[in-house]
Symmetry: C2
Subunit: 204 residues, 2 copies
Amino acid sequence: MTQTIRPPRGEARARLLAAARDLVRHKGFAATSVDDLCAAAGVTKGAFFHHFPTKEALGVALVEDWTVTTSAMFAAHDYNRAADPLDRVFAYLDLRRAILNQSVADFSCVAGTTVQEVFETSALIRTAAGQSVQSGADHVRPHLAEALARHPVPGVTADSLAMQFQVATQGGIILAKAANDPTPAREAFDHLERYLRLLFQRPA
Amino acid sequence: MTQTIRPPRGEARARLLAAARDLVRHKGFAATSVDDLCAAAGVTKGAFFHHFPTKEALGVALVEDWTVTTSAMFAAHDYNRAADPLDRVFAYLDLRRAILNQSVADFSCVAGTTVQEVFETSALIRTAAGQSVQSGADHVRPHLAEALARHPVPGVTADSLAMQFQVATQGGIILAKAANDPTPAREAFDHLERYLRLLFQRPA
């Protein structure tokens, strides 16, 4: 979703997190060994264990770093500045579709991939991933709350509706991976937009 | 989604596939070693490699077996027998919600979990997972085609709409894993039902 920028040599922790982001996107968390991480980051195993007592600790830091960097990226984006709250939500969907114009690995979700694997074997990483999903819903939750305040929809809350953006994102990524094609991920956002336009009676 | 039934001793291949289904659901594909599989299935490594030349071959067979058994389960279900095609689709959503009344591992998707990890590292497993996702969409595609023939919706095809059931299923599973709670998976189906009722002008 965001480009991996290599920090200068010497910043071993940041290099390890950048390498982890890249490796997890391409082959998953379990398949990424500490040796792989050290080789990709150009650091020694000693440096790894200086920064992270375990691979699990690296996993927690990876997901937390993912949450912080993606949150900052979305919070700074222009879609948040439209006057009308639903226009902000539709502009966010345009952004999500634009993000799909790269390789599947590059629009995959570090938190979603990792929690898919470790939800039962690492409560610490699962908790970090749960916070990441909530943080993803934050990209649109306030805009949806404002839209619902103007146009209430019985039975629909901003919380629950915001989570559907995460459903479309995560489900779309899996379908894109299985199809080796971003089209199903794009269509998930198209259907979500059509749903919102029906809910809020705002035709395209 | 379906219960793991242990075949009698001696059927090593079936025992390995049952063990793989169980292990992949609990800890993912990469974290499941050949040793884990042999121990869980109660078979020797020799028996493993007699049936599967590589772990990847086991992965392909696992996903293909998953497709066959889940397809048979859904095809035989009563939801397919309602007179009205949309009633069939809503009954299918009731079934999907009922499936969530068990542990997260037990309603997780073997194909979705595996492809999340290996989409780039195993084209063979990815292809099998792509077929599994298509097969999942088949649970509702004919019913949606019939509903759309009676009530066309501009810009909406049965194919694309059927894939939204897979988006809700796969996305819902990831959110449930991250939250350690099936509620977000249930809400994904609730929103999908609301969307369909709006599209087809069929209030609850």
